[in-house]
Symmetry: C2
Subunit: 329 residues, 2 copies
């Protein structure tokens, strides 16, 4: 029953999407849903209760005026252009962390491409257990479960691949041109708008699941950022000057992610690497890499075929940087 | 209070261990525990209730005749020769899988060297989610949490390191000389006596915890093995012909593991690699490697510095084998 209501909602939203903000007649809707005109009215009422504003005009039909602020799985899946990423969506209003839930689902055998998304994270976190500020209804707090058959040493490649997918989706959806700071920051005008956290469920010699978490600052106002972050963080809205549809951006990310991931599985890391390098700041420049083992100064030569950063130090040696915070010096 | 009872038990067991199966006078025990002769009697009664057989003879004192069949954390920790591995022991009579509990504890911040051990696993598993038969009070079903600061690509080395530690401990404790089949099987007379499962909690570029699971067939009789396993599995008791003390073997494993791990952190993989190669069967021989991607035939050349198996195929190419079942051809 729930599944059937969900399908009705999905078809209804798709009918509105196709109408491109024009009126859709009650007759048309009753045909699309295969139900009576009275039933159409009931379904519209259900939508309204969920926060959709629907205008009804005699002889014209129905028109979708405004969608609710909260995300919804059905909304994301309506007109989604993917074959497996996002075909299962686990949505919750508020969660401690989407990564945590994705880990559980992966452990219970969730299928590849399963997405966990929430309107709010109360314990959102980034790399190295750092806090990720995730206020309600402003950003995209999302985790994606992938199950590539790759050696462990190649998993950092998926962080870079995801960064490319997100940059492409932001460009397509907003026109903004972000850049990437190795390994996982997406910057706009030098400020951080996106973080990516790639975690694993793995044996020492084989990957079970890769859980890719994304935190994307979309519609935050300046006042939504804590004082400590204002200098270093930004949102797409602050940069573009307009509200951005989170649903449209999610759909674009899932699409680009799937395209790149398919390319990666078929053709390897090289095409992804070329794209990544085209978006990267800091290549060819002097940087400071702060690793857990100490700080290294040098010139960022590029990334190798495993996605590891290569740093040329003053004495000409080339250091492989697996994990670090980097800063332009 | 529980902690204090635990300390009393630990000191009491150590006093018996030092006496080497001779009588320990009530006077001596009351000095060791810092309590009255009457209290000594009460502590001995507590031991008896836990399944220890303690003989009491007038004017001679107390003698430990038999320990309970079940393992106990205190027993394992008494006379343990390590500085951090096994200093925290999480024991349960029966669990679904010690790996599962170790993962939980690691996620909650358990300290490095924490051990999870059970007398029975109801859902014990090996590599690639295969079942590991773990009947009660017969084997060592144990998981160890390590937190090395190493790149992901090096984690297979820890499987090999653990195999060496277990082989050394079996040699010391039983005189049996096992061999190692890459990557994680320990064989005695060609039959499998030990399996090792190394799992990770990791980001794409840094390891949080390595959870090393060990399944060791110790005191199984022939009849304890399911029909399907009899041809391919064995126990230390079946090979040595005598009962083996699981506690003594655990202590030896923890000691050898810590020694090797310290060497590894200080000097890298090379010394471990040399030891591993000295125990390995199949090096230099024609083998069949069944990987998830297909079956490869070739000569096992050895392992490289990452712990990856190198296989020379008929056309002279050298394949890196990250994950496979291997068979001598």
């Amino acid at each position: 029953m729930e599944q059937s209501n969900r399908n009705v909602k999905l078809r209804l939203l798709e009918a509105f999407a196709e109408s491109d903000q024009e009126y859709v007649s009650g007759q048309k809707i009753s045909e699309v849903l295969g139900c009576s005109r009275t039933a159409v009215w009931k379904h519209i009422e259900t939508l309204r209760k969920e926060g959709y504003e629907v205008e009804a005009v005699r002889r014209m039909g129905y028109r979708l005026i405004k969608k609710p602020e909260a995300l919804s799985a059905v909304e994301i899946q309506s007109s989604l252009r993917t074959s497996f990423i996002g075909q299962a969506v686990h949505y919750e209003k508020s969660v401690p962390s989407t990564q945590k839930i994705a880990h559980q689902l992966a452990g219970e055998g969730a299928s590849e491409g399963t997405i966990v998304i929430a309107d709010e994270q109360t314990e959102g976190r980034g790399r190295l257990a750092r806090v990720w500020h995730s206020p309600i209804n402003t950003g995209i707090w999302m985790s994606c479960i992938l199950k590539p058959k790759i050696p462990l040493s190649q998993t950092p490649q998926l962080t870079l691949l995801t960064a490319v997918a997100i940059v492409q989706a932001i460009e397509e959806t907003t026109g903004i041109q972000p850049s990437i700071k190795w390994p996982n920051d997406i910057l706009i005008n030098g400020k951080k708008a996106v973080g990516i956290l790639t975690e694993l469920q793995a044996e020492a010699d084989s990957v079970h699941s890769v859980i890719i978490g994304m935190g994307i600052n979309v519609n935050q106002q300046d006042t939504d950022f804590p004082e400590a972050l204002k200098r270093i963080a930004t949102s797409l809205k602050l940069e573009a000057g307009i509200d951005i549809s989170r649903t449209a951006l999610i759909q674009a990310i899932l699409y680009n992610l799937e395209q790149l991931y398919k390319t990666y599985l078929a053709a390897g890391f090289r095409p992804v690497k070329l794209l990544w390098e085209s978006y990267a700041v800091s290549l060819g420049r002097e940087i400071i890499a702060r690793t857990l083992q100490g700080t290294i100064y040098g010139k960022a030569l590029g990334i190798n075929d495993e996605g590891v950063l290569l740093l040329e130090t003053a004495d000409g040696a080339v250091e492989k940087i697996y994990s670090a915070d980097i800063e332009l010096s």
